[in-house]
Each structure stands twice: as structure tokens, then as C-alpha cells.
Symmetry: D2
Subunit: 338 residues, 4 copies
């Protein structure tokens, strides 16, 4: 890291900072400019508390040179992580599609949808049993009954399952049913929940927070990996901006940035990103061409009757057509989908 | 609410929407424009699932007319809520100041700080025992030992306590020590945690999420009140924007907006909003003049040695001077501080 | 539009609003809810000044139902606009690629680059003669000498030209050299400049402002079209968000939204959107798969020596490879590139 | 500045960067870390083009240490700039209030308003003759006729004038009438316009762009000062964020940040920042307490009949009451208003 001293810092203040850095185990390299002095400091910053330095008299600010994450980053692990879930190899040259309704409503309808998304080529079945809803008056999910329905659909189709967990107290229960644990956008910095899922050996689908930087997102992944669970799948689902034409703004640039900074796979959720089924196909195709490792798409047999997020759900037929188009795009970028 | 039909909607589609609205218990009032038809719908929208309508053929969108919150809003309760915590009457004409260090580090230092902030005029003592940290490698708080130190400081000074709870599993423990339960910005939409604190009769300090709209913030308050706990104190602590000169952008306009929309008290946290002690005094004064009901300010006897957020902490002497200046501002807007 | 009255509005206030709306030529349809009254108003809103109503006692707010733009929108013109520039048919099933260096530096280098981008398949040559630079000390462009070099490159290659105009006083000069007039992101709401280019019959490439909503962007296009120039090409070049890993956040969702709302063609500038050449190829491919009508890409033979925006420029060889990949993607979505 | 080399940079690449920096006149100081090497470079960066370095093989990025602005910054000029306009001394211990209607509509009404804002204690009269409007169909201002009305109001009251200029071609005309030239938010990076007003000796009121960082804003001021006009008054008028409860989000933190970074005076526009007269008083008081040097407030005798921005205008009586409250706040922070 680089410590930048203020233009008015005295020689004594500069010396004090160097001395403190040495005590903390850093090797120091001061550079005296015409207006400001900066001090290069070499050493392990992980256990270091930056304000020990930034609070010292004469210090203007501190510029980190190394990334704050280690286990989630490319610096220590260059080879991409591939996560096997049933037949799916997430992060490989295959594009993995996860699909299903937002919330689980009843067994028959859920299994019917599962059969259809499987026929269309999805490898993972999504569904919400515990729903984080903005309004306390909205449908909150079927909870364990929903998990049982998911398990029945797995039984019926062979599809693997992904579902969200929203409370540390539920992780054990949800993990006993699902194949992938999902952490939702609103819980991306619920650090206790991250620690809890870090103690299981189930893959974790980690959605990006609405206002999380890519660095904070990778730090959330670091929490899970540091807890002992290396199988983190990142999911871009749109960030919050000033634009209101779509529910969120999908940050497609996050795909090449994550690929450069991290070895973890990244998928895109065009349904939550746009909030409107009309835009889902265009962005699903865009995501695959940009380099995403997969997609998670909402599919519902009767969006008008859905208890949650109907407007952004595709009907099974539309989804099936989209899968064929995605397959063509996947081939055009040298990957496999169907 | 108003249902806006698409310019290409057929008469039959319009009729179907009206019929569905009637079935759902709404009274309907269609208005036929030259290009578009809109349908006014009168009734209770709380249990209503909007996509039942937005997914119907021919529907362009749905414009809500009523606010989604009821219990947190002014429409049903016009008189401001005043929350008594020890001597403090939060939401009254008194300005309540909460102060103390970010994290609790050791008993002696914490009690010393408590004594000093009390002498300066603070009514509530803040301190963190459970810390939500961006990095898994950073100091995570003393947990129950920290709560015990807080209780000892209350014993020694008579100050009431506010501290954060970050996990549903800890609410009972934290509530058994503290006088006010704090929900941090990153947990503002951790709905399970909101439901849990809604079941206690302790006041809740609800920080605004980094990218939460004022409406979503009031919906988070609604969760707590709907659970049975009406004593919610809102806390503006800066939102995330493109500006990087300060850690967050304090949204001072939120004060008059909340005062207009809600009966709940609102305080401001200039320390977390700016991230830099140099700007804390200016914004603390601005917040009181704008109409905030109080402030929560970080004070640390030795910021350079703080284990957390030192750069944004005031030293006790500086805090004491600020309190005198705030008192003058409070008087200038017809309120009482010291 | 819908006028929403406040819950405390008196019957007299409601009557006054209705009366005023009638005087303004609107047909009114009041709907009396249990808490609030709303008034539907049918008529031409273009010459109407909303605050005549929003300032009236008892009015809470006003909800527009029709889009504010007419000429740029789909409501009046359903068929997509195709703009012919030389061989390029922008907005047709062909993908048009515009390429070249950020700034024009000298004739030889510019013509060499022009030859190479033409060989790779670009149809339009870009180059900056008037540069809007954040710093007054940075290179501001060769001005008319740059335009002459561009004309020489057109002569040498047959490529058509696009270049930015930054001042109303220069429009005539720039229009006398270029084939497409570019309005930069920072001038998207320089309304005088929009009016000025609206008086020429050259196509206009209208970049989206850094914090412009899609609606404001289409309103900027409306200025140009209302002035008499219907040939507007929209260009998404990234919006400003909190994310700093890329220079801007490319809003890929803008492509399907614009396609739905407007008949105008839309292209994407992945070079300015990301600010880094490493991410340009991924996003260029994503843009074509999402449905963009074209791309504008920075190409420079020696990015390290470029006087402007070198870090985001591709070398000609890399650009040539990208064009082949883009051609495969274009085919996969039923379009033509090479 | 600090050049950060990539972890994979070879010794030869590091040497090449050092060599290039030396050629460019910098003194270099390499620091070899365990993973990365950084190179400190000392010298004048103003004429330097960063990509000469960032495009070199092995370079990861470049961290500037000095601020990009010189003339607008505190580093070279520590004493605050005070700008005298008539009786007003902007930037001194006096709080200067500028007031008047958004647009000038007719002489009688404008002069009446002028008399009233003068009686209330305003020192500068605002009014718009050239209006930048989002819609081409909205009222665009009376142009020179409006300037003549402003001059008549100055004659009648002795108040000095501030009005916006939107086109380089109009600067001479507007400057011949007004006492302060206003650059609007949408033109903050219209660099040609900045250069043009830099050639006049009239003070310039420079509004912050909707998505401009404080650094970019100070760079815009630098353009004007570098052109020869040192009299720049900064005006915070709200930035664009995701929050829609107010038209923009006023960035109150910008006040202490600007005071620290720059010697220029800063005022706040609570009318445009909020878009609603109901919130103007609260934020005007907050701005003065936070340390602003003045305010610019919209006042209109009949907001419902205003041709522009009526909803955010105060009536003269309300404005007069606000001025008395502001005076009390000003005294509380050791300043003078009335």
C-alpha cells in the first residue's frame, strides 16, 4: 500500500508514520515529492487495520495496491473453478441454465413446470420456498412445504435444485433439501448468513447486492470460501441506478471484470435484472455472448396467476424457443448449451 | 390504483381487466383516452398481488396511488411518535444525541468515553459488540463480552444503550442488555431480522440501506410495526452514489420527506455518512437545522488506536465543542439540545 | 394524465382543479376513492405546463400516462427508421460498425488506421477533431486540420465519416466535412446544439448522457427531429453508477427498451463504456447479441502513443479478429455484419 | 503519481516504464513488493498524457497523488476567494441570498417580485431569459426581451443580476446585461462555454452537473479560471441518484469537501435540488448551518401561474419568513445574513 502524506505534513510526522509501519511489520519506502511525500509499505495487509495509519497526524490517505480478497481472486488461483452439480459443470465450457418459477405455489404446477424446463434443456430447477418480500403483507413462501415440493420435482425429473435461504436458523433445513444454496441480493452483506453457508459443503449461488461493487461482491464470496466452502457461483442480477425503465440495470461489464479478477463462475439473472419478461430474451442472449457461464431465468406456466414476480416470467413455450436461440449464440462463442 | 392499458389493447382485453378487478373486490372506473385507456380501481391493495393484473394481455403498467405502507405513514396516524428512552424523548422538541465508539474494545476505555460523552450532553451511549465487517479478516466485535461492558458503562453513567444486532439468533441476547436495538444499513432488508425485532418491545434504530429508497425504508419500518413493535427510530446514514469524495452521500432531503410521509422520528449519522471526522461537525449542524430529531456520532478517545472506523471518530474534546455549537443551532430552530 | 389529489383536499379544491383542466381543453373524469380522489384528464399535453395544476391547492401530484416524446416514439411511427450513410444501412438487418482512433493526430497514421478498419469490415470511420476534455490542459484536438485529414481518409478509403461537434458555432464547418454529426454524452442536453444540428440534413449520432434516463435521451432526439432532421442514431455509451471497476456502466437493457419505445436505430460504444480495451470485445459481442444495430469502437495502431483514450483502444489486428467473431454472433441472431 | 505494475510484469517491462518516465521528465522511485512492483514518479503531471504509461506492457494502473486542478485548489491558494458583486461579498462571513423567479414572464410581475425579495433581504436577483428545457415544446424563455426586463428591475431596485447563458454565441449579449453569468448543470461540461465565459471579467455561477463528481466540478472551474476569469462561485443543486422522492439529491457533504479542497465560495440551490417548495426551507436552513456561503432560491408571486418550475417556488411572504429564520441560523454559526 501507499501512504500519502498531506502537503503540510512535518518531517516528524513522516518519521512517525514510517516508524509505526515498521512496528506493524511493513518494509517502508518513502518518496519525497515537491509538494507531498508518499510512503510505500510492503507486507501482509489482511490483519492490518488501516485507520491505525489514516488517523495519524499528517496522513492524507492510504492507497491499497493489492486486492482485499485472496481466496476469491486470481492472484493465488489462476485456474477457473468448475462446480459440478448433477450433470451441470458450472464454469466449464458448458452454459448452465437454471429455470423455474419465482415462488413455489403447489406441487402439480411446480412439477409440470419442472418437466417443461427440463425438456427445454435447463439443468437446474429454481424455486422459492422462503421469499424476501419488500412488503410484510405479501406472500412470504411455503417454507418447508415448498422445499418438499422441490424435492418431489427433483425426484420426478432428475433436475438439481437451487433455492434461497434467508435466515441463519434455516440453513440446515434448506441444505437438507436443496443442491445449491442461494443467497439473495438483499442478503449479500448479511455476513452471518455468509459464514453459516460457508460451513456447509453445498455450492452457493451468491447474488450481487443492489448497490454492491464488484470488489464487495468478491469479498462476500471470500467470507464463504474463508469459512471452508470453495464452491461459490456469482450471479449478476442488476444494480440500482437512476434509470427506471427497467427494475434494475444489469451490469454486463461485470462479466469480463469478474473473469479477470476471479476464478469463480458467473451467471446472469435477466429476469430480476429487468423485471419485465419482454426484455429477458434479449439480455439472456447478450449475457451468453458477453461470456457468462450460465443464466437463471424465471419460467411460470401462467404468469398472470403467479403469486410473485409474474411480470418477469417467461411461459414454458417462450423459454423453450429462447433455449434454442441461446444454443446458437453459445456455439458462436465456442461454448455448448444444449 | 390506476391500470394503464396499452395503445393496442382491444376492447375485450379492457373488459377482461375490469372484470378481474371486480372479482378482486375493486370498484372500477375506466377512462377512454384518444390513444390509451386507463382504469381507476378503488379498494384495499394490501393483500393484492399486482401481477395478477400486470400480466394480463393489453396491460401496459399499473400506477399505485396510495402509499404501500400504512402503519409507518401519516395517512392513518397524523401525530408524531415520541419514543421515551430513559430521559430522552426521541421525536419531541428535544434533539437527542447518541454517541460513543464504533466498536467496544475494553471496559476501561469504554467507560471513560461514556463518562465524557455524558458530560458533553449525550443521552444515549452507542457501541458495537457485533460488527458487520466487509472483510472476513477484520475485527468482528467482542460479542457478549462487549454487551457486558456496555451494561457496566450504563451502570456507571446512567446513559441508555444502543447497539447493533446482526443475526436473528442473537436478538434475545442483545435485547436482554441494550435499551435500543439497532438494525444496520446492510440488514435493512433482512426481513427475518425485522420480523424478529418486531416481536420485542425495545425501540429499534433502523438505519437506511445504502441503496434503499425512502419508500423501501418506511416499508422496512412497516415490517417491525406490523410485528407489534411501534417504536421505530429512522436513521439516515448516507446513500451510495457515484461521488467518492465522501464514503456515502448523506441525503439531507430525507429529513423533510420523512417528516411529511411518516410520524416516526428521524435522526442522522454524520460519521458513517461521510467516513471522515473532518466533515462530521458541519453535517451534524446541517442535520439539526434541517429538522432531524437527533444524531448518532462516533466518539473515540484515541481514533488512531480504534479497532474500527477510527477515521470518522471525533475525540471527546471536539465532540464536547460540537455539542455546544449544536445547542445554539437547536435553539435557532426552536428546539432544545443541552 | 392523472391528477392525484391529497387526502385532505376539499371538495372545492377538487372542483377548482376540474374547472382549470376544462379551461385548458382537457376532458376530466374524477374518481372518488376512500382516501384520495384522482382526476383523469384527456387531451394534448405537449403545450401544457404541468405546474399550472401541480401548484393548485390540494393537488398531491400528477401522473403522466402518455410519453412526453412524439416524433421519436413508436406511438406515431411504428416502422423502424433506417438511415443510409454510404453503403451502411443503419437500423436495417445489417450490423454497422464504426471504428477509428479517439483523436486525429496526423494524416499518415489516420489514413493507415482507416485502411485497416476498412479491411476489417467497418463501414464508417470515426475520429475526433474537436475533443471535449475534462482538463483544460489536455489535448483539445486538431480542429479544422483534423477535419481535413478525415476528408483525406474518406478520399483514400471510401469510408464515410463520423465526428463530434461541440459548439453551435462549429456546426456548419463540421457538417461541411463529415457524413454523420456526433453529439457527445456531455452535450446530450446542450439544447441549443441539438436545435442547431436539427437544422442540417446530416444524420446525427446522439450519445446518451452520463446520467440521462432513456426518456430524457429520447427527448433529446425529439429536439433534433422537431427541428426538421429525422435521422437520429442513438448511441449507448455507459451511464454513471457507483461501480468503479469500469469507467462507466454500459446499460445493455437500453437496447430492448429503446427498440420497444422508439423507431430509431441504437448502437453501442463499448470503448467509452468500459474505458479499458480488455473488456471491449466481450461487450461488443454482448451488444450485438442483445440486439444493437451497430457498434462504435476505438482502434489505434499504437495505443501507448495515442494523445487521447489510448487505454480503451484496440490495435487493428485485435479489431480484425473481433469483427470475425462479431460476424458469427450477428448470424446467430439473424443479422449480417461482414 | 504511482505506477502499479501487474503481478506478472517482467523486469524488462518495469525497466521500460522507468525509462519512459525519465524521458518524460519524471524522477522515478521503484518499490519492489512480494507480488507487485510500484514506481513512484515525481514531476509536473499537467501536460502529461497518462495513457502513454497505462498502455505500456505490464502496467496495471496509475494512481494520481496530486489533484488534477491547480488554480481552483487550496494547494496553491490557501486564502478563500471573496467575490464582490454590488453590496454582496460572496465567500466572506456574510451569507448571500440570490432570489427570484425561474423564468422571466413580464416586466410588471418581475419588478414586483424583485422589490419583494429585496425587502426580504436578498442581494442578488435571479431570473431566466434563456431556459434549457427538457422538452422542445416547453417555454424557452424571452431571450433578449427577458434581459431588458432584468435590467429594468435592477434599475428599479438596485439589486444585482444573475442569469443563465446557454450558448457560446450569446455570452457577449448576456454579459452586457447581467452582473453574474450562470452556467447551468446541463452545461457544466460544455467546455467551449466554460472557455467563453473565462474570457469575460464577470463572476460566474457554476452549477454542479447532475452526475459530476466534486473533482470534475472543480476541473470545470479550472477551465474558467485558466481562461483568465478567477471569479467562480460554485453552486450545489442536487445530484442524480436512485431516490425519486425528491427531484435530485442535494449533496450537503459537498460543502465541507469544497471548503477543504478549494478556495472558491459555494452556495446551494435548494429549489432545483428538491423540486418541491415544501422542502426548500428545511434544506436552506440546513445548507447555512453546514457552512454554505449563500443560497439561490426561487420566488414567484403566483407559482400556479408560473411558466417554469412553479412547484419549487416560494411565495414572497414565505420567502420573507424564511429569511428571518436563516438569519438566526447564520448567527448561530457566526455569520451575518440580514
Amino acid at each position: 500500500m501507499i501512504v500519502v502524506m498531506s502537503p503540510t505534513a512535518s518531517r516528524e510526522q513522516i518519521d512517525n508514520v514510517e516508524k509505526k509501519l515498521s512496528e506493524l511489520g511493513f518494509k517502508t519506502h518513502p518518496i519525497f515529492g515537491e509538494v507531498k511525500t508518499v510512503i510505500g509499505a510492503i507486507g501482509d495487509k489482511r490483519q492490518f487495520n488501516p485507520q491505525v495509519i489514516t488517523s495519524m497526524p499528517g496522513v492524507e490517505n492510504l492507497v491499497p495496491i493489492m486486492k482485499p480478497y485472496k481466496l476469491a481472486g486470481r492472484e493465488l488461483k489462476q485456474v477457473p473453478t468448475i462446480i459440478q452439480v448433477g450433470e451441470a459443470r458450472i464454469g466449464s465450457d458448458e452454459i448452465t441454465v437454471m429455470a423455474g418459477p419465482c415462488a413455489i405455489e403447489n406441487e402439480q404446477s411446480f412439477i409440470d413446470t419442472a418437466i417443461k424446463v427440463k425438456e427445454a434443456g435447463a439443468k437446474i430447477l429454481r424455486g422459492g420456498a422462503f421469499k424476501p418480500r419488500t412488503s410484510p403483507y405479501a406472500f412470504q413462501g411455503l417454507e418447508e412445504d415448498g422445499l418438499k415440493i422441490m424435492a418431489a420435482a427433483r425426484e420426478a425429473t432428475g433436475l438439481k435444485l437451487v433455492t434461497e435461504v434467508v435466515d441463519t436458523r434455516d440453513v440446515e433445513l434448506v441444505a437438507s433439501y436443496t443442491d445449491i444454496l442461494q443467497i439473495g441480493a438483499r442478503n449479500m452483506q448479511n455476513f452471518r448468513l455468509l459464514q453459516e453457508v460457508g460451513m456447509y459443503n453445498k455450492p452457493v449461488l451468491l447474488k450481487r447486492g443492489l448497490s454492491a461493487t464488484i470488489e464487495e461482491w468478491l469479498m462476500a464470496a471470500e467470507y464463504i470460501i474463508a469459512g471452508g466452502n470453495p464452491n461459490v457461483i456469482l450471479c449478476e442480477r442488476g444494480i440500482r441506478t437512476f434509470e427506471t425503465a427497467t427494475r434494475n440495470t444489469v451490469d454486463m461489464s461485470a462479466i469480463p471484470v469478474v473473469k479477470e479478477q476471479s476464478h469463480l463462475p458467473i451467471i446472469v439473472d435477466p429476469s430480476h435484472a429487468t423485471g419485465t419478461w419482454k426484455y429477458v430474451s434479449a439480455l439472456a442472449k447478450g449475457a451468453v455472448a458477453t461470456g457468462a457461464d450460465g443464466l437463471i431465468i424465471e419460467v411460470h406456466p401462467d404468469p398472470a396467476a403467479a403469486l410473485c414476480d409474474g411480470p418477469q416470467s417467461l411461459k414454458p413455450l417462450k423459454f423453450s424457443q429462447l433455449m434454442k436461440e441461446l444454443d446458437t449464440i453459445a456455439k458462436a462463442v465456442g461454448r455448448i448449451l444444449l
